[in-house]
């Protein structure tokens, strides 16, 4: 259900990109870059290569987005491009790509994505665990109504209207609660992501 909303937004963004709006594509990149990187990381172990392939994936997606008709979800389409780009990269560097592709469902679920974790360096694994713990701790620390609202939205994937019905409050309140919850989580997450990005930039 979250996917339905997300699909609508994605298609809106795709339409804008097709009309030449580069900012809309930037939003799509920002939205999906970490998921794409996680997916590519299951094919390529080296983090630097992984970033290059993720970048190549988005470049290819941008060039081909004129052909995207919205029959499938944008991320499904992007997932395919990422898998092909990663496999092409492996072939080009004389490495054997895995016989089985990482399917969308497998890539989506963290618990089954064991390969992803295996490929990580200890530092990156620590960083990931830290982020997860930070977010979960921030959610636990939220007031009850904010926590319920953000959980119904992000985990259950309900629309604002459905959440308003479930929580028995106006839609405006739902909107505000979700925003406040996000802001509170973001307060905790922001330092991590900023410091997390800094060493990568220095390394490159």
């Amino acid at each position: 259900m979250a996917e339905i909303d997300s699909t609508q937004l994605d298609q809106d963004l795709v339409r804008r990109v097709q009309d030449g709006d580069m900012a809309a594509f930037d939003l799509l990149v920002r939205k999906y870059q970490h998921r794409v990187a996680a997916l590519v990381g299951r094919y390529v172990q080296d983090w630097s290569e992984c970033q290059d392939i993720a970048q190549e994936t988005f470049i290819r997606a941008y060039r081909a987005i004129g052909n995207f008709r919205g029959d499938a979800q944008f991320y499904t389409w992007l997932h395919r491009i990422a898998v092909n780009t990663a496999k092409n990269h492996l072939v080009a560097s004389n490495r054997r790509p895995p016989t089985d592709d990482v399917e969308l469902e497998d890539a989506e679920h963290f618990d089954s994505a064991l390969g992803l974790r295996d490929n990580d360096t200890p530092e990156r694994e620590l960083m990931r665990q830290q982020m997860e713990q930070t977010v979960l701790r921030a959610v636990q620390a939220l007031p009850e109504e904010l926590r319920t609202a953000i959980t119904l939205r992000e985990v259950e994937g309900l629309s604002y209207e459905e959440i308003a019905t479930r929580m028995d409050c106006p839609i405006g309140t739902v909107r505000s609660r979700i925003f406040r919850a996000r802001e509170a989580i973001d307060q905790e997450l922001k330092p991590l992501m900023d410091t997390g990005a800094a060493p990568e930039r220095a390394a490159r």
């Binding site: 939003l27 990187a37 290819r60 780009t85 992803l116 985990v155 973001d186 990005a197 490159r204």
Partner: protein, 370 residues
């Protein structure tokens, strides 16, 4: 915007300290709604425009996505903060950062690509199959058969079969000459005799090849069989000729005169059994690739055939083509030498002597034709 206004309008001075946070909060609220697909299209359009310039807001959008992914338990690998900028820069600089030669239709391309690859493989396989059948239809007369004859290991049985009755028993006086390795050449006669005696089984061995090949290719046309039969007759006559010529080495010199009628009809001359004439025939037989005789194709089209062998003489590969070939003799050196060593295991130097002895006689042949 407010700064511009304050430059020109004093009324707005009161506004200045407050707006950034409020505006930012307002934008964040709208962004949150847009993230959930709950923003009206007009507002979304405005928000997108805003995001184009507001990096902080865009980063906020990115963090919220990560937050949602973590809450949903989705895999994520944190990319550097400037990743989206790098992507935008790479897109702006066309083809600069492309890894693959043909980006774009990556999702749609692999299928035809794979088809093309397998199609290419199938094409190559069918071509190889056709080539195989064609090679069976017209086997290379020299390469496989002569290699077979020349290699001592494989020609050994043929020699064993052929040598005792022909070379060693009938050419009686030549036989003692064979096992004397250190003995220098005692004039032309014994040497030539030894050579011929040694070469006779070789001729049998070499001639055995086309017979076997002919037997193998039993599905040939009538004319091909006729050609094979004729060569068979020549082959059968070969040891006899060699033995007959053995006590008469000077006959080698007489070859040119005799080879002219032999050219006219080699089959007839072979059956006639005249020692001198057939000696030339036999020499031609040693020198020429004899296994070529039953082959139906013009030599010019056969791979591995010497260019000197009259490329346009489409004479069904009969020996007369070689009788005219002035540069042919080097061939019989290559053939006779290893075969002779195969026959005469205890006396390897004989082959070298045989080559030396045969050289002048062969050289005299074409010279006297002219």
């Amino acid at each position: 915007m407010s700064r511009n206004m304050t430059d020109h309008d004093d009324i707005d001075i009161d506004f200045e300290p407050a707006p950034p946070d409020k505006l930012y909060a307002h934008n964040c609220r709208q962004l949150s709604a847009m993230l959930d697909g709950e923003l009206s299209p007009d507002q979304a359009r405005f928000m997108l425009r805003r995001l184009q310039h507001d990096g902080e807001l865009a980063a906020c959008w990115e963090r919220w996505q990560v937050c949602g992914d973590i809450l949903r338990g989705r895999g994520h690998a944190l990319l550097p903060a400037d990743f989206s900028k790098r992507v935008a820069a790479a897109i702006a600089a066309p083809e600069a950062a492309t890894v693959a030669p043909a980006p774009g239709h990556a999702a749609a391309r692999p299928r035809p690509h794979r088809l093309l690859r397998w199609g290419g493989g199938a094409l190559a396989a069918s071509v190889a199959l056709v080539a195989l059948f064609m090679a069976r239809q017209m086997p290379d007369p020299q390469a496989p058969e002569l290699a077979e004859a020349a290699s001592p290991a494989r020609s050994a049985p043929a020699v064993v079969r052929a040598a005792p009755p022909v070379a060693l028993a009938e050419a009686g006086d030549a036989a003692p000459a064979l096992p004397v390795p250190g003995e220098p050449a005692q004039g032309g006669a014994p040497d030539a005799a030894a050579l011929l005696a040694a070469a006779a089984p070789v001729a049998v061995a070499v001639a055995e090849v086309p017979r076997r090949a002919a037997a193998r290719n039993s599905t040939r046309s009538q004319s091909q069989r006729a050609a094979a039969r004729r060569s068979q007759a020549a082959v059968d006559a070969a040891p006899l000729r060699a033995v007959a010529a053995a006590p008469q080495p000077p006959a080698v010199v007489a070859m040119p005169q005799a080879s002219i009628p032999a050219v006219a009809d080699p089959g007839v001359s072979a059956l006639a059994g005249l020692p001198a004439a057939t000696m030339a025939e036999g020499e031609a037989l040693f020198g020429a690739p004899p296994s070529a005789s039953p082959r139906p194709w013009p030599r010019a089209v056969l791979p591995g055939f010497p260019a000197g062998g009259q490329p346009f003489a489409a004479g069904y590969g009969l020996q007369q083509a070689e009788a005219f070939a002035p540069f042919q003799p080097r061939m019989d050196v290559g053939i006779a030498a290893p075969a002779a060593t195969a026959i005469d295991v205890p006396a390897p130097p004989l082959a070298g002597e045989g080559v030396d002895a045969s050289a002048p006689g062969r050289e005299a042949g074409p010279g006297s034709i002219e």
